[in-house]
C-alpha cells in the first residue's frame, strides 16, 4: 500500500493543487466581500435598485455620507429590479452575502415583516427620540404595522398624470384641472386625437398593476380583505369591485375610441410622449426630472385621476423603503441606522427630489433652497408633493400589506393587456382574481396561516 501511495504522489499533488487554487480564489473572492475596508471602518453593505439619475444621485449621497464620518463605510451594491430583490433577501439572509441595509419596495412590506429578518426602525426611533413627525405620514403608511415603523421610506413617489401642455395650447384645448376625473381626461384625450387628425394619440396607461392599484386607492376601494391586510392576514382579494370595473371600462372605452395607445412599457411611452406623439400618460413622479429635461415648461402635471363624482381619497405611495437586516452585528445595524437618518434628512431629500422626481418625504425639505428654486422655475414639479400632502393616510392609501403581491401584479397586468386588447373587463379581472385567490389560499396554507 505504501508503494502505491508513493506512486500516487502526483495524483495527490494535482488534486491538491486544484483544491488549493479553487479555495485560494474563493478566499480571495470571499475576502473582497468582507467587512473591513482599508480604512478599518465597518463596512455597511447596502443593496439598492436605483438606475439612471437615481443611481447617480444615490452614489453621491453615499460618498458624502462616507466622508461625513469615520466609523462606517457604506458599500452600495445594485441588485436589479424591485421584484427580484425580495427573494434575494429571503434567500441570502444569514449568509455572508446578505446586506446590512437594503431598499425594498412598498408592496414587499408585508413579506419583510413576516419573514422576521429585519429590525424595525421604530427601535432606533424610540431609542434616539427621533422626530418621526417630520416624515410624511402617507409615506410612512406603507411600512407601518401596529403603529410601529418597520422601515424608513426613502424614495417615495406618487403616480402622476403627465401631459404635454404645449400640445394642448397648440390645438386650443382647455387644460386639465389639478385633480382630474376620468371624464376630464377623456375630453382632453379625444380632443387632442381628433384635432391632430389622429396624428397624436391622446393618452396611454401602461398595463402596470401599480396604476390599477392606484385607481382603487384613489376611490377608497380595497384590494384585499382585512383592510388590504393591514389588520390581519389577507385571504381574499377583490379585483372586480365597482371602481376596478369602472376604471378598466373607461380605459377600454378610450382604446375603442382610438385615442388610447398601449405602448407596452414605460420606456416606449416616454419616448412617444417626449417626441410629441402622445398627449398624456400616468407614471411615477420619479420620471419628472427626465421629462422636464425633454419638455421643459411644456410639461403639465396633475394628480392621479378619480372616478367622476367621487371625492379623491388620495393614493398610496410608490417607491421603496430602507430596511435594516437583523443578521448583522449591532455595530453594523447602528451604521445602517446612521445612514438611513442621513438619507431622510431634509437636505438630502430636497436634493433627491430635484435630481429624480421622487418626493421629498421630509416635510422640512420644501424649505430647502434647492427645492424652492426648483418650484419657482418649474411650478408643476410641486404638484406630486401637493398630492401626497393632500391625502390623509387610511387603509386603502397606505399600500397593500399582503405577502406575494408580485405574483398578483403579474396576473393583473395580464388582465389589463387583455382588456386593452378588447376582452371582457369583468371576465378578465375575475380570472385574475380567482387565480390569485387560489395562490393566496395555498401560500397561506403553506405558511401556516390556515
Amino acid at each position: 500500500m505504501t508503494k502505491l501511495t508513493n506512486s500516487l504522489k502526483r495524483y495527490w499533488q494535482v488534486v491538491g493543487l486544484a483544491v488549493i487554487v479553487i479555495l485560494g480564489f474563493s478566499v480571495f473572492g470571499y475576502a473582497r466581500t468582507q467587512v473591513h475596508a482599508a480604512s478599518g471602518r465597518t463596512k455597511i453593505v447596502f443593496w439598492h435598485e436605483m438606475k439612471g439619475p437615481g443611481q447617480k444621485q444615490l452614489n453621491s449621497f453615499i460618498t458624502a455620507f462616507n466622508k461625513s464620518q469615520t466609523k462606517y463605510e457604506v458599500v452600495p451594491q445594485f441588485q436589479g429590479s424591485y421584484n427580484a430583490v425580495i427573494q434575494k433577501i429571503m434567500n441570502t439572509h444569514g449568509t455572508t452575502a446578505s446586506p446590512a441595509v437594503f431598499q425594498s419596495m412598498d408592496i414587499s412590506s408585508s413579506q419583510m415583516y413576516h419573514s422576521g429578518y429585519t429590525v424595525p426602525v421604530q427601535k432606533f426611533i424610540d431609542r434616539d427620540n427621533y422626530d418621526i413627525s417630520q416624515i410624511s405620514s402617507v409615506a410612512r403608511g406603507v411600512a407601518t404595522r401596529n403603529n410601529k415603523l418597520l422601515a424608513m421610506p426613502f424614495n417615495t413617489s406618487q403616480t402622476t398624470l403627465f401631459y404635454n401642455a404645449g400640445l394642448l395650447k397648440k390645438y386650443g384645448i382647455k387644460p386639465l384641472p389639478v385633480s382630474p376625473s376620468y371624464s376630464d381626461i377623456s375630453r382632453v384625450s379625444s380632443q387632442l386625437y381628433q384635432k391632430s387628425n389622429h396624428k397624436i394619440k391622446g393618452m396611454s396607461v401602461e398595463a402596470y398593476s401599480w396604476l390599477f392599484e392606484q385607481f382603487l386607492s384613489n376611490a377608497n376601494e380595497e384590494f384585499a380583505n382585512h383592510h388590504d391586510g393591514h389588520v390581519g392576514i389577507a385571504d381574499k382579494v377583490k379585483f372586480t369591485g365597482p371602481v376596478a370595473i369602472e376604471s378598466m371600462k373607461w380605459l377600454q372605452g378610450r382604446v375603442k375610441a382610438g385615442d388610447f395607445m398601449n405602448y407596452g412599457n414605460s420606456k416606449n411611452e416616454m419616448a412617444a410622449f417626449l417626441s410629441g406623439k402622445l398627449g398624456l400618460f400616468m407614471q411615477t413622479s420619479a420620471d419628472t426630472s427626465l421629462l422636464i429635461k425633454g419638455l421643459g415648461k411644456d410639461l403639465g402635471v396633475t394628480y392621479y385621476p378619480h372616478p367622476d363624482g367621487v371625492k379623491p381619497n388620495g393614493i398610496s405611495v410608490g417607491g421603496a423603503s430602507m430596511w435594516i437586516a437583523n443578521d448583522k452585528s449591532a455595530t453594523v445595524q447602528e451604521g445602517a441606522w446612521q445612514f438611513i437618518k442621513f438619507l431622510v434628512s431634509a437636505q438630502t431629500q430636497a436634493k433627491w427630489e430635484k435630481a429624480t422626481g421622487y418626493l421629498a418625504i421630509n416635510n422640512k425639505a420644501t424649505q430647502e433652497p434647492v427645492l424652492k428654486q426648483l418650484y419657482a422655475k418649474y411650478p408643476m414639479t410641486k404638484i406630486p408633493g401637493d398630492q401626497l400632502k393632500s391625502a390623509k393616510a387610511n387603509y386603502t392609501n397606505s399600500g397593500i400589506f399582503v405577502d406575494g403581491v408580485v405574483a398578483a401584479r403579474a396576473l393583473i397586468e395580464n388582465a389589463m393587456q387583455q382588456i386593452y386588447a378588447g376582452k371582457d373587463v369583468k371576465q378578465s379581472l375575475q380570472t385574475a382574481e380567482n387565480s390569485y385567490n387560489k395562490v393566496l389560499k395555498s401560500t397561506n396554507r403553506a405558511n401556516g396561516h390556515g
Partner: protein
Amino acid sequence: MENATMNRAMFKRRLGKTAKYTMLLILALIIIFPFVLGLWTSFLPSMDIAKGALWSSHLSLNNYVAAFTQTKILQYLLNSLIISTLVMFAHVFFCSLGAYAFVFLKFKYRDQLFYAVLATMMLPFEAEVIPNFVTVKCLGLLNHYSVMVIPFLTSAFGIFMLRQAFLQIPRDLKEAADVDGLNHWQFYWRVTLPYAKISLFTLAAYSFLGSWNQYLWPMLTTFSDHLRPVQDGLRQLQSEETFNDWDMIQASAAIVVIPTLIVLFIGQHYFKSGLNEGAVK
C-alpha cells in the same frame, strides 16, 4: 456553332458567379450587420443615438472612456476570465479521471455507474437551480468565485466524451504499460492524456465557453460587482426604469465582444478542424 455554345456556357457561368457573390454578400451582411451597427453606435454621442441620428459625424472614444471609468466592465471581464479558466482546467482534469476509470479500470457495478452518469446528461441544470441554490447557500459559497466554479468541476458530458476518446487508445498500449509496470496513475498521466490531446482541447474549449456564457446561475448567486461575471455584468448596465444609456452599453458590449472575435478569427483553423473532427463523426 462551337463558339455559340461555349459563349453561352461562359455567360451562364459569369451570371451564376455574380448571383453567388450577391447572395454571399447579402448573407454576410445579415450576419455582420448587428456587430457593425453596435460598433458604430459605440462611437456616437448618446444624444445622437436617442434621436436615431445614426449618420452622425461626432465620432469619439468617449463612450469607451465612460465604459471603463463609470462601469465595472474590466472587473467583470477579469472575473469571467478567472472563473472560466478555473472551470476549464478543473473540468478537464476531473472528467478525464472519471473517463479513465470507466475505460481502464475494472470494478464492481462499473457499467451501472456509467449508465447512471450518462443519465445525468439528460437532466438540465436549469431544472435544478432551486435545490442547488440552497446547497451552495448551506456550503457558504454565495457571492464567491467558487460558487461559479465548484458546481461545474465535472460533468457527465465531459466524462462521456473523454470516455469515447479513451476507448480509441489501443489496448496494446495498456498491456505494454502493464508489462512495463506503469501503474494507473502513470499510465493516465503519461499515455492517456497526451494520446487524447485533441479531445482534451475540445473539452477545454467547450467548458471555457460554457462557463463564460453562464447567465442564470451567476445572476442568482452573486450580489456584488466585485464578483459578477461579464454576462451578468452587462445585464446590470441595462436599465429597467429609465432610458438606456445606449452609448455606454454599446461600448461595453464592444469591449466584451472584440477580444472574443479576435480569438475566434485567429483560432479559425483550429476551431474548424477541431469542431469538424470533434462534433460529427
